[in-house]
Symmetry: C2
Subunit: 249 residues, 2 copies
């Protein structure tokens, strides 16, 4: 079933007004007709089964049939922080962590980042918002992931105070088997997780020290060296596996 994310203002008294590129998508890409079924998801995670009522030039009117009770959101709110890398890698990670259920994404300026941008250009933020919307619709998410702009390491440490659990992937710890992501996740009883993975060159020892001082736990993601764009996917899959898959069949 095709799903469209809409703002709360687009919904009122049993009607959803579809605008812009979604209107184009329904009319010209999907070539849908009145009477056909689609789903609309609002900003608070509600999803509605709808019927196309009317196709106008610049809008499509949907009638809400019923509210669906299926929730595909992870029980934990996970924000993936990633050492700043080139934009195509960020894009790829973003697209996949949406599918895997992340609630937020933040690129962090780090010592070994090859890219030295201080701010995310507006056009890139728009592009990332579009990626999030498309991937959320395809993967049938209830809520949109929040993309934050490029954040300094200092601001990132400040921001981490708002999370119940802060983790970072540190290959040196993975090698020595000193720390266990699995043990930490199994004991976790909070709601929000912040998970940092490094840029291409990895997290520097100085950064690791500051993370430790700020209450982060270092975790290894297995014995092999993962590329910087694979580590966030491993983190999300591990969290989904632990939180969403059942022990008994």
């Amino acid at each position: 079933m095709q799903r469209y994310f809409v703002t709360n203002q687009q919904i009122s008294s049993g009607i959803v007004v579809i605008l812009g590129s979604d209107c184009h998508h329904i009319k010209n890409v999907m070539r849908m007709q009145p009477g056909m079924a689609v789903e609309a998801a609002d900003e608070t995670g509600n999803v509605y089964a709808c019927i196309i009522d009317q196709l106008a030039t610049n809008q499509v009117i949907l009638k809400i049939e019923k509210k669906l009770d299926r929730n595909t959101e992870l029980p934990w709110e996970v924000t993936i922080a990633m050492g700043l890398t080139k934009f195509p890698k960020q894009e790829e990670v973003l697209r996949r962590i949406v599918e895997l259920g992340a609630a937020g994404f933040v690129p962090v300026e780090m010592a070994r980042s090859m890219v030295k941008a201080k701010v995310t250009p507006g056009a890139k933020l728009d592009r990332m918002a579009l990626i999030v919307k498309e991937a959320s619709e395809q993967s049938l998410r209830n809520k949109l992931l929040l993309v934050l702009p490029i954040t300094s390491f200092k601001s990132f440490l400040e921001m981490s105070k708002n999370f119940d659990l802060c983790l970072y992937a540190y290959e040196e710890r993975g090698k020595t088997d000193d720390f266990s992501l699995k043990g930490i996740l199994k004991r976790f009883s909070g709601r929000s997780i912040l998970f940092l993975t490094g840029p291409e060159g990895g997290i520097s020892p100085q950064e690791a020290e500051r993370l430790d001082q700020s209450g982060f736990h270092a975790v290894g993601l297995g014995p092999r060296i993962l590329r910087c764009e694979t580590a966030p996917l491993y983190a999300m899959c591990a969290i989904s596996y632990e939180a969403e898959l059942k022990n008994e069949s």
Copy 2:
């Protein structure tokens, strides 16, 4: 540490002879000099700490210092089978499942595959072998993953008899929470796993039926819909998480 995969014939009496593109890599890309350290991995999973002894025009001679006892291979031999898709998607999946520890990869002709190739062209097989070698060196694998050519669904079912556990990702089962990958992996006491994920259009109900008849277990990979190139990564991360991460920190 830079690692190079070599054939067993390139190793004898404490000497490794590096040839071809690896020779070029050491001399012209890494610009290494005699006395510098590299690692060589043979075909059986042994890894040796070596010192560069001599740089000749078409070969580099390494002296073996000692055999390393670090093993980064998954305790289970996992072969990822994937419904045939366009080549760039296969490549991306291949590169990442090498990092995540898979032992084999096989593209399977399936009913909903958009691509209708019957055989893998020789040049593609060469390219895939190169991807495997590079990704194995970067991720510090002990062994190279084996890439099989495109296989018909019938041959694939035949081939599955050689595995201790056969699984397939089926989103319909994920939705109803009927089957649990986690429960199956926790109970698994064998050695080899075959894990099939579908092409873009998914696995057809007829194929699911034949898989069930052939002893496969259908498993869900969480409540969200994963794209065809994300599902194999989830499978590998879940297996690594279950088999490699410790319960206690």
